[in-house]
């Protein structure tokens, strides 16, 4: 006769066997769930809208992830192009169209797109001629911008180049013309990467020039010129190691990324009078910040920076209150770098996205 205690022991045995069988796989799964997720691929921006508490930015931001252009408007992303090498969007002055670069691995070209991402015009043709197998017969075009009147296209172009000396130079050409009508504006330093990121302004053109600093390290400097092939003048010192200029909507301030020759980056702003920069003010110093852009209504600055240390770049926004009032004192660009940046003010940047991984080499457009 089977007693109740025997039944209880039998059931306990069954339970223990089940627990034993489950313990191994459970341990395995628990360990697997504890991985750091550092290699998890970023989400597409359209996979989830920004966090509910995310700051709703004014206007529309154009941003790049994995070779696709996206717009962010009223807190919602829209994919404008397929993932096909698209990068570096820039709004035309009337805001009706975008310029953008399409890369294919061997060359890149400037295109005009409408605000919904449809191509309306291919401006350059940088592929090597048919049957020319020399890789050097292809060309790069990067960082397109239009002049305030919308007629002249400014961009960085790898001509002239000689053998291994592939350097970008700033060119200008009629938007309705061809590269044969283009004009070389800058004389890039050999074997430096060259001159990039042209920003046409009322008084001339600001750009980033790469070159060898006094310590023989390659550094970036903002330069200004108002005549083609003229020497121009540096706006920042070699030791500041700056790049990615962005002019404020009022035209009186410039935001830039300065790295002081280190593996750090500061978001720095300075007043701008049309020919010289004023005192610098570092407004972000604790993030690896890239690609600043001013809000069209002057309410702040958006930029890209990792959401977690050493992670992919996310979209951030710094409200104007964090960095106003602007500095006004003037300072010589040749002066010893500020090698230490200006005192940092407390700021409260807002993280707009958390897991998207945007292309930090592509400037943002905002209109």
């Amino acid at each position: 006769m089977i007693s109740r205690s025997m039944i209880s022991r039998f059931l306990l045995g069954i339970v223990l066997v089940v627990v034993m069988l489950a313990a191994g796989p459970t341990t395995y799964l628990v360990l697997a769930s504890k991985t750091s997720k550092v290699a998890a691929p970023p989400q597409k921006p359209t996979a989830s809208t920004p966090r509910p508490q995310a700051y709703t930015l004014p206007g529309t931001i154009y941003i790049v992830q994995q070779g696709a252009l996206y717009s962010l408007s009223v807190g919602r992303f829209h994919q404008l192009t397929p993932e096909a090498g698209w990068t570096m969007p820039a709004l035309v002055p009337d805001g009706t169209h975008l310029l953008a670069i399409k890369t294919n691995g061997r060359y890149s070209d400037v295109y005009v797109l409408n605000r919904f991402g449809s191509v309306t015009k291919r401006v350059t043709n940088n592929a090597a001629p048919p049957r020319n197998r020399d890789t050097g017969a292809n060309h790069w075009a990067f960082y397109p911008r239009l002049s305030p009147d919308g007629k002249t296209l400014w961009f960085a172009y790898d001509q002239p180049k000689y053998g291994y000396n592939v350097i970008m130079s700033v060119w200008a050409m009629p938007l309705s013309g061809t590269i044969k009508q283009g004009k070389l504006w800058t004389s890039a330093n050999d074997y430096s990467g060259g001159d990039v990121q042209p920003i046409p302004v009322k008084t001339g053109m600001i750009y980033t020039k790469y070159g060898y600093g006094p310590d023989t390290k390659l550094v970036g400097q903002l330069w200004f010129t108002n005549r083609a092939r003229a020497a121009g003048k540096p706006l920042t010192s070699a030791g500041e190691d700056c790049r990615s200029p962005a002019v404020s909507p009022s035209g009186t301030q410039i935001a830039m990324i300065c790295t002081y020759e280190k593996q750090v980056s500061y978001l720095v702003i300075a007043s701008w009078n049309g020919s010289t920069l004023g005192a610098r003010k570092a407004i972000i110093s604790n993030q690896l910040v890239a690609q600043p852009i001013w809000a069209p209504d002057g309410s702040g600055i958006a930029y890209l920076a990792p959401g977690v240390p050493a992670g992919p770049f996310q979209l951030w926004f710094l409200p104007k209150a964090a960095y106003a009032p602007i500095p006004t004192a003037s300072r010589s660009p040749g002066a010893s770098p500020a090698e230490s940046p200006s005192p940092v003010v407390p700021v409260k940047p807002i993280q707009v996205t958390t897991n998207n991984g945007f292309d930090a080499t592509s400037p943002l457009a905002w209109g």
């Binding site: 290699a39 790469y210 390659l218 990324i257 593996q263 050493a310 930090a360």
Partner: protein, 313 residues
């Protein structure tokens, strides 16, 4: 209860099995120091035998990076990257010294040649012995990573954040990864500034030698930047990431560092927080100058040795 515990342990072992296999195959490699010919023994001091220091004390590791594509026979590759790293745990100081690959030196296997050939003549032992005898440095261990290994490592940790110092543009970059022919070329453009690099683009950034006037010296500086970025990313990893990492790296990493020391080094690496405590040295002129035999670089030992003895005592 014992059965349940054993089952749990078995689950854990199954999880870490790939990492253990990889560690056994890659770590703790025996260093064979080749014996030079009798003439060479007369001409040069004997290679110093590496002595293992405890992790609590300072130690020196030789990092070796090689193209290991189809252009080369396995284990007879050149080391295109040689970086001496000295770690002082007590002061949390790290010193990285990049050795130019074309440096003309006395090889531990005999004769003279470019230092990048030492590994191809006698493996990691010869590379360690050559650096040890020429630079007068005691080297405790080596880590060798193949071309694909660096790409896989960086992809396995989800990419690295780097401030690229300038646009690296190269119309004649070797296309030995993506092409069927190891001698093809491709164009690369790694743009300047802060960015998140995947394995392929990080490799392009550190490997291109046509993008700046300093050629291999500029490349050495870029290699050090990416090494620091990998170290930064490694701080985000947990032990549970090891199986995925080992699966990604299989066969592309070798080291003489034993498993127990690897385990002791992981928390140590995470404790190095201050970027200013990392000293980076590249042997630019006047420490070296061109014009050596066969396109090699000649060392100015009267300047190099005091510098090395200062930072690698």
């Amino acid at each position: 209860m014992l059965a349940i515990a054993l089952s749990s342990v078995a689950g854990g072992l199954a999880y870490f099995l790939p990492a253990a296999q990889f560690a056994i195959e890659s770590a703790g490699q025996v260093v064979k120091v080749p014996t030079p010919s009798p003439t060479d023994i007369l001409l040069s001091p004997s290679p110093q035998k590496p002595a293992l220091s405890p992790v609590t004390g300072a130690f020196t590791v030789l990092l070796l990076g090689s193209d290991d594509d189809s252009k080369f026979n396995a284990d007879h590759v050149l080391t295109q990257s040689m970086i001496l790293v000295r770690v002082v745990p007590s002061t949390k100081q790290v010193t990285m010294l990049s050795i130019p690959r074309d440096l003309y030196v006395h090889l531990s296997t005999g004769g003279f040649g470019k230092i990048d050939g030492a590994y191809s003549y006698g493996g990691p032992g010869a590379a360690m012995a050559t650096v040890s005898q020429d630079f007068g440095v005691q080297i405790n261990d080596y880590i060798w990573v193949g071309l694909l290994g660096l790409i896989k490592l960086i992809d396995a940790v989800g990419g690295v954040d780097v401030v690229t110092s300038h646009p690296v543009l190269d119309d004649y970059y070797p296309s030995d990864i993506a092409s069927h022919s190891a001698y093809d070329y491709q164009r690369v453009a790694v743009l300047g500034g802060p960015q998140h690099l995947d394995g392929i683009h990080a490799m392009q950034y550190v490997r291109s030698r046509h993008g700046d006037l300093q050629s291999d010296f500029g490349r050495s500086q870029r290699q050090q930047q990416v090494l620091l970025a990998i170290r930064q990313k490694a701080k985000q990893l947990s032990p549970e990431d090891l199986p995925a990492l080992s699966a990604a790296l299989g066969g592309e990493l070798k080291t003489s560092i034993g498993l127990s020391k690897v385990a002791a080094l992981l928390p140590l690496a995470a404790s190095f927080d201050n970027p200013d405590a990392i000293r980076q040295i590249v042997l630019l002129p006047p420490y070296t100058h061109g014009g050596g035999p066969g396109g090699s670089i000649t060392a100015n030992w009267s300047l190099i040795l005091p510098l090395v003895h200062q930072y690698f005592p």
